[in-house]
């Protein structure tokens, strides 16, 4: 094992050792994640959608970081990934729009995605767009947290 370069130890950034918190977080985080995904996919039927889901998902990450330290959280979800996923979400969103354009419809005119079954087309279109939103929001929230935490 190569020794990591000696760094200034920052409590709360590099570690966390509170057993109660750790255990509680371990209990909570799965549920938060599931809830987040639920809100995400439920968005086209009821209250919910990408933005809320993104925030909930990101809150799971932030909770993990608060309990286990930012460095471990970042090992779990490196910044390289969030840096890519954040724009990727928007690309999905805008991409759907461009695809509808290319199919001959208006921007975000989902019907043209599957002209035979416009209902499905609407569902798919919205699902994709919301997925993009969720991805971006979650990544951006995590990025903001990291950005502030690192300082």
């Amino acid at each position: 094992m190569s020794q990591p370069p000696p760094q200034e130890h920052r409590p709360g950034f590099d570690d966390a050792d509170n057993v109660v918190l750790t255990k509680l977080a371990a209990l909570l985080i799965p549920f938060i994640l599931i809830y987040g995904f639920y809100v995400q996919v439920h968005g086209d039927f009821g209250p919910g959608g990408g933005f809320q889901a993104g925030v909930i998902l990101a809150s799971a990450y932030i909770l993990y970081a608060l309990v286990h330290g930012v460095r471990r959280a970042q090992r779990l979800l490196p910044r390289k990934i969030t840096d890519v996923t954040a724009p990727l979400g928007v690309v999905i969103y805008a991409g759907v729009g461009v695809v509808t354009l290319l199919q001959g419809g208006h921007l975000l005119d989902y019907d043209v995605l599957d002209p035979q079954h416009t209902q499905h087309a609407q569902e798919w279109g919205m699902f994709l767009v919301e997925a993009g939103v969720g991805l971006t929001v979650a990544s951006v929230m995590a990025t903001i947290f990291n950005e502030i935490a690192e300082q």
Partner: protein
Amino acid sequence: MLGSINYLIYVLLMMIGLYAAIAKHNLIKKVIGLSLFQTGIFIFYISLGVVEQGVAPISVDAPTRFANAFDHLAARDGADPEALARAREAVEEVLHPHADHADHGDSHLDVEAPETVAHALEAAGRELPADQAAALTELTRRDRLIVDGVVRPYTNPLPHVLILTAIVVSVSTLAVALAIIVWIRREFGTIEDDELTELELEVNNDAKGGEA
């Protein structure tokens, strides 16, 4: 008075927020004030959404489809004109339920309106085709809001959607503000507004001194 309590709250919140944003020296407190200020506006928007006897504006197709069908039916020969007139009245009732009653503050809606349409048409010797009947049903799905013949306040979803967007915007603003404040703290060593002003002046003077 109580009816407009939302509006009172919104004004109060806005004013508290604006006061904090202007009068507090601590940048974080200012940001909190700003958020309060925006929250006040959100409450305003949400209050807007509550429309007594409102009609869902999103249902674009159903009224159109129904109205077209009705006209098509009415245009055919051999109908009893009086019954048709009654039916038309009922249709108006379905499409614009608030048109007659809103002025009187009467919250009773003719829940039977769809049925009246059907009956009147029947009397006129017409029967609604299946798809038009479906459109009519779709239209009257609103009756879920009618409990015991009393129309419950109906909530327009549009302001909610809008305000959701506005919340996203305000969260982003908050994030940017916090990020900048963190930077400020690192560069200047303080987040008190008055101290910052002094520090800025010092930078100014340094620059002038260097110039001379």
